[in-house]
Amino acid sequence: MNSFLVIPVLAQARFRPEFIWDNRDIFLGGVRLTLFIAIIAFSLATAMGLAVALLRMSKSRIVGPIMGAYINVFRAIPLLVFVLFVYYGIAIQFDLAISAIQAGILALTLQYSAWLGEIFRSGIQAVSDGQRQAALSVGMSRPQAFFRVVLPQATRIVIPPMGNMFIGMIKDSSLVYIIGVPELLRVSNLLANTTFRYFEVYLATVISYLILTTAVYFGVKYLEKRYALVDVLTSRVRSPFARRRSAQLLKLQEAVTTSRGSESTSGRDSA
């Protein structure tokens, strides 16, 4: 009787939380596919986004503007429209051997590669040119300077916006329901339409997305902490890694101090 008062929309049908539990396999199946699509599309988009960013920064007068156009085009199309276009407009129309899942992943990947390309570009450009110069000055090649020095710094800068993008990807992956991919939203729709338990179904859907995105949020927090710059010799961080590393460094200091004592008659002061 209580829930009747709290949720008047359900006047005809009492709220039945156990309905969600009874259909957990359906929801879990949807969640699994949602995660699969989001992870695959995000990974592909990350790789492509990096390529887009690098090409966009190319000094060539042709490549740079082309990538600029690429970014503008894919950012401009509403994702739902793009999903329909890729699947019905291209895959089905031209009878390509592409499944709905593949078409959905393709659409998400292309669009997100444009967004991620811009994020990477801003991250890379935020690293001062002195870093590249310093890397070159000790004999590193250009690729080494980029991958060993510039990119790791850019990566730390882009971790928070990348987290946002991944959350966006999880949510946007719901749009592929329109081409029949049985991800979380699609299975929810089907279940709701056959059982008429709209409230329970969509409540479960909402909670599922909430759990997924919250997990990503904590994942990003963990990454930021994991990549925090901490001197293992002076900090009180007690991770196994920090303990092992600080033991190594102490040993190294000892070895150098010992060798200094034995070899130097010239007696070099430390400044």
Binding site: G130, V138, D231, L252, V256
Partner: protein, 255 residues
């Protein structure tokens, strides 16, 4: 430390020109650096001193002229000559550079800053590279800062790590681009002390600096640059007996 003209040349710049757009920064510079020599370059800002250093290790490609190092030629070269060519990356392995803004890699520790090129360029094994890096950090007095990140170090400490990062590659020549200009006054001394040590050890050095005390003491060959040309060159006597009025005016202004 007084090695002079008869030393075997290590680096030779001939007729170097460099422009950035309409700005003609270097207008035909000639400079020969001998083994073990300490060259000091000074002059007003915008005179092309830094660009000259950066051209020496090819961080800037000269528009014309020849950079010669250790039997190989770089840059466009001199017309009519056909000297053996070298690769810029290999030259940079042999010529160390210390920057005004330190440019330490902020995402890795002091130890890793020094060990990085050993491992990635020289392909030295990790343990060995770290040991060698630690001895060089010890040499600049920072053995206790192995695990510190650049942001946890003072400017003077950062610059000393940067010097160790270059030295660990055992370069034939060290270039210093205003190494103390970004430091608080009380931190200048510790960096100059390391540089003096290095000069005494016989390292070939080219130093762009406004530290006239250091220049007087260490400079075997002193060069005054203004507006992209070498105005005057001399030994230690240059600081007290400059012939060119522009040199005299500049020295008067900063001393």
């Amino acid at each position: 430390m007084g090695r002079t003209k008869d030393a075997e040349p290590v680096v030779r710049l001939r007729n170097i020109h460099k422009s950035f757009g309409a700005n003609h920064v270097l207008k035909g510079i000639d400079l020969t650096v001998g083994q073990g020599q300490h060259v000091v370059i000074f002059g007003p800002s915008g005179s092309g001193k830094s660009t000259l250093l950066r051209t020496t290790n090819l961080l800037e490609a000269p528009d014309s002229g020849s950079v010669w190092f250790d039997g190989k030629e770089y840059g466009p070269g001199i017309e009519g000559e056909d000297l053996p060519r070298g690769k810029a990356r290999l030259l940079r392995e042999e010529i160390g550079m210390v920057f005004q803004q330190f440019n330490l890699f902020p995402h890795i520790t002091a130890l890793d800053n020094v060990a990085l090129a050993l491992r990635r360029v020289r392909k030295v094994k990790r343990d060995e590279a770290e040991y060698k890096a630690a001895t060089y950090l010890d040499r600049v007095g920072l053995l206790d800062k192995l695990g510190a990140y650049p942001s946890q170090l003072s400017g003077g400490q950062q610059q000393r790590v940067a010097i160790a990062r270059s030295l660990v590659m055992e370069p034939r020549v060290m270039l210093f681009d205003e190494p103390t200009s970004a430091l608080d006054p009380e931190l200048v001394g510790e960096v100059l002390a390391v540089m003096r040590d290095l000069a005494e050890s016989g390292m070939t050095m080219v130093v762009v600096t406004h530290e006239m005390g250091f220049a007087r003491e260490a400079g075997d060959l002193n060069i005054f640059m203004d507006e992209g040309v070498v105005v005057e060159t001399g030994g230690r006597e240059l600081y007290d007996g400059a012939r060119e009025p522009r040199t005299r005016a500049f020295l008067r202004a900063i001393l």
